[in-house]
């Protein structure tokens, strides 16, 4: 299939990333489940890059693309910024208890 030929590199990346993701996570202590989930949540905010491309390519008379693209940029940014800030707040609290140890 033509599609596989065209995207062979990307498909390789997908396969390797899957294994990498499994490998990276597999020994996490349960206390860290929530911050890790939240951190991963922020990382999938990369979808914002797609939103930026949509927005940047929208023609000035294509209102559907402009409005939806604009919304997508806002939502994507919310995901990224909110995600990282929330994760940092959670982890900040873990940090504090260390001196007590």
């Amino acid at each position: 299939m033509q599609f596989i030929q065209q995207h062979y590199d990307l498909i390789t990346i997908v396969v390797l990333s899957i294994f990498l993701g499994i490998e990276v996570i597999s020994h996490v202590p349960s206390v860290l489940h929530t911050p890790l989930m939240s951190g991963a949540n922020a990382i999938h905010g990369v979808v914002i890059i797609g939103a930026i491309i949509v927005m940047g390519q929208a023609q000035s008379d294509n209102y559907l693309a402009l409005i939806l693209g604009f919304l997508a940029v806002i939502l994507g940014t919310l995901n990224v910024v909110g995600g990282f800030v929330v994760t940092d707040r959670m982890l900040e609290m873990f940090k504090k208890k260390k001196p007590g140890k």
Binding site: Q2, F3, L10, I13, S17, I18, F19, L20, G21, V24, I25, S26, V28, P29, S30, V31, L32, H33, T34, P35, L36, M37, G39, A40, N41, A42, I43, H44, V46, V47, I48, I49, G50, I53, V54, M55, G56, Q57, G69, F70, L71, A72, V73, G76, T77, L78, N79, G82, G83, F84, V85, V86, T87, L91, M93, F94, K95, K96, K97, G100
Partner: protein, 474 residues
Amino acid sequence: METILLIAYLIGSITFIIGLKRLSHPETARAGNLLAAFGMGVAIFATIFLYRDAQGAALGNYSWIFAGLAVGTIVGTLMAKRVQMTAMPEMVSLFNGMGGACAMLISIVEFDHLFHGATSASAGAATAGAGILLIILLGLIIGTVSFSGSMIAWGKLNGSIRDKHFPGGQYFNFALIGSVIVLSVLLLVQPSSANASIYFYSILVLSAMYGVMFVMPIGGADMPVVISLLNSFTGVAAAFGGFLYDNPVMLTGGILVGSAGTILTLLMCKAMNRSLKNVLIGAFGSTANKAEGEKSQGQHKEIGVTDTAVLMAYSQRVYIIPGYGLAVAQAQHTCHELEKILEEKGVEVRYGIHPVAGRMPGHMNVLLAEADVPYDKLVEMEDANQELPNTTVALILGANDVVNPAAKEDPSSPIYGMPILEVEAADHVIVNKRSMKPGYAGIENDLFFRPKTSMLFGDAKKVLQDLITELKAL
């Protein structure tokens, strides 16, 4: 230019991998998060300034892009900074939904491009046809399910949506998936059909419905698992965006979250000793516990604040078992104060932390750390269970399912097999709750009717304050 962009993407991908790795160790977690955030920033700004389409044209509409970024950053930061520790899981779910919605909107716009031929995302969109369309559709379906599902999970966690069971809900869900697949195949086979748009938007609506129906029957106690699962869905949706734009950083970031999220979901299930299938079908809080509820309606004993204070003041060791009730009442600081007063009186105070107490794993650790409770007072479940037999008072603050003896004794209970804190080993068990209502999982707790147990009704914060006053007066 192109090379710099690719290097920026490479930096993004590498920071995501190292960031995730560091996030899975307590000492490096915070640095890992910041590293990933830095990589994200690099990738975003490189895209804005360096991205060129197939014809070599730069991106336009900078004012729109920066306005969107500014709005998102301000609102996102405010929301994330203001949210209370108790509401963290809701917040994660909400942000996850935003990401899903973002993927959904991208697919809608690209579909529109493809069919009204304005500009095309990929150079080969027109020729590659079915392949691109398939990617757009998958991004749409997964993004939409993740969006609507996360919104329901968010609503459930903040209490505005109650659990609902529909008779035959599962079949309805299968029918929904079936129709989505059929419509997608129709669209892929005849992309030029006049009905293409109708098919596409029907898929959008049906996917949104599926997200709602999928999360609706799942019990609140299982929400963290569902959020984690939806989180990995959004990752996959982002990865389809990577295919769409031939964008390596979207692909690695998305897939990494997709696979790590799936593993994390399974780990969470394991911590609760349940299978993912069990969680998804929503056996929790459905048929099994009805029988349970009818069975155990015994007598419970009450105890007053004064008696509790006296009992604790003359104890050897007091074990505090915190749960979601403590978090809701925002009583962590008061709890720490009580602990200090008791320690002054020579009572040894410990906290028994169940791994899934609260609404998410690690919730109690975060909460008590916020109140500056020393780390060495937080005892993990297995160690706590060894110390509980030598404990005078086990004070249960707003915890329920994690101390329910049914998990050990009653094979018909939905939580049977889940490890619990064995508070009954202590000399006295005092349970603080607001009422006799069952816990979040909706299961009756036999513990409340046991001879050793006394109930201390009231809001956790109020009760703790009263206890402190009484203790000071002693």
